[in-house]
Amino acid sequence: MLGWVDTLLQGVLLGGLYSLYATGLSVIFGIMRLVNLAHGDLIVLAAFLTLALAALGMPIVIALAIVVPLMFAGGYALQSVMLNRVLGRNILPPLLITFGLSIIIQNGLLETFSADTRFLNVGPLQGASLPLGGGIAIGVMPLICLVAAVAVILLLNAVFYRTGVGRAFRATSDDVEIARLMGINDKSIYALTMGIALAVCAVAGFFLGARANFDPSIGPARLLYAFEAVIIGGLGSLWGTLAGGIVVGLAQTIGAHVDPEWQILSGHVAFLIVLVIRPRGLFPRAVD
């Protein structure tokens, strides 16, 4: 019994990490209808950037504080220099570009950092845990990760639903032609969107490295988890994305509890089950 409670708790905490993976993807798709196949690799790239800065001797939190704006700037540039040129009715060109980007990032990281497995050293927090009584304890880092996931979504929702720029984001997502008529420069909205998404990737990369090992090849699997979380949650809702991340996380830990070999598989199975029962996800936006 206690084992199951523990499993469920760990699943929810793991879901926090997955929803961090997925939030950026959800924002990009929600506003631009762009599928970013390099998303997982960008998360890994952010983890390596943080690692490199920390290796220079700076505290890991400072490294993160530098990587977040760095990734924002990178996303802004990527969108305005490259992706804005191919965004249009045809979804294939941006898909191919991000696919190419994924390969370039993986190989670039392999060339620079080798295939060695790394982790981010967060000091005494690394293995710290909070006893909850009854023999159950939760890790401090996983807890901070879940809190960060919720905080990121709260922050993004505050921007999207409480500010004038946020209204412009949603208006652009609804009808880009009319948004232009209102004086909104859709290209710069898109560049900001990619910047925001990659800033979230930086946070996700930090927790990826702080919770587990990483190497240049693990991006595509993160992308898959992120995709599943977005689809399970329902397109267009960030809280749905959080729920989707938690569903994948729960399914994986429950699967692993039954048999460690089933961890990854049961996440995918949960995804397929949700697709069969609720093809539009758990919390689809009312109007598509």
Binding site: R167, A171, E177, I178, M182, V287
Partner: protein
């Protein structure tokens, strides 16, 4: 002097040419109607002016300045605002948010604000937190007009205001339009509804197959002339 002019304006959708050299002028404070059958190029004309369609640099002039190379989001800042055909409200935004987005490109001081738009359309105030999709067609048209007014346009381009609306609602919309005109706004009115268009217009252009087939003041245009220019018979 004309505030808005087009000279030999042509426009295409890909390989399909929809406008064949439209020369048009709108004076300060004037209301001009553009009439014509479906597919005559009326909406295309408004899209070309507002920058939603590519056009030639010198073909569109505002206050004597070429605006043909400016993107759509810059043109609204100069005071030209379009009420698009079929309303096209932002479906995930509330009524008030739709109006506020209309003020995004506002660079001009003027009479319009949330308060004055609600004065013009009082029933929108009660429904301001409702999703825009929950409104009736007439109310949606009011939001669309209000949204365009929020940028304080000097020139308001209206595409098929009466489309799909009940006669009594159309009367309200046209009453509001008269109110808007009294504030000095110049209006271009694209309509298939001849009677309404002619009743408020100072001048009218009739389009046929992408060309101006007739123009003049409504009282000078005979029924037969309009009929011929409209249908090409």
């Amino acid at each position: 002097m004309a505030v808005l002019e087009t000279r030999e304006l042509t426009a295409c959708y890909g390989d399909f040419q929809a406008l064949f050299g439209i020369t048009f002028a709108l004076d300060e404070g004037e209301t001009v109607a553009i009439i014509g059958a479906n597919g005559a190029g009326k909406s295309t004309f408004l899209k070309a002016i507002t920058g939603l369609l590519p056009r030639q640099a010198a073909a569109v002039r505002l206050d004597g300045r070429d605006i043909g190379t400016l993107p759509a989001f810059e043109i609204v800042k100069l005071g030209v605002s379009l009420v698009p055909e079929g309303r096209r409200l932002f479906s995930s935004l509330s009524v008030e948010e739709n109006l506020l987005v209309g003020a995004y490109g506002r660079r001009i001081d003027g009479p319009w604000s949330l308060a004055t738009v609600y004065q013009l359309f009082p029933m929108l105030r009660d429904r301001r937190h409702a999703p825009s999709t929950a409104l009736s067609g007439g109310q949606q048209q009011m939001v669309a007009i209000g949204r365009s007014l929020m940028s304080n346009p000097r020139i308001l381009l209206c595409d098929e205001l009466s489309l799909g609306l009940a006669p009594i609602v159309i009367r309200d919309i046209y009453a509001a339009l008269a109110d808007i005109k009294t504030r000095g706004t110049s209006v271009v009115l694209v309509e298939q509804d001849l009677v309404h268009a002619m009743s408020v217009a100072d001048r009218a252009y009739c389009f046929m197959e992408g060309r101006v087939s007739l123009s003049g003041r409504p009282q000078d245009l005979t029924r037969d002339a309009i009929h011929a220019a409209y249908f090409g018979l």
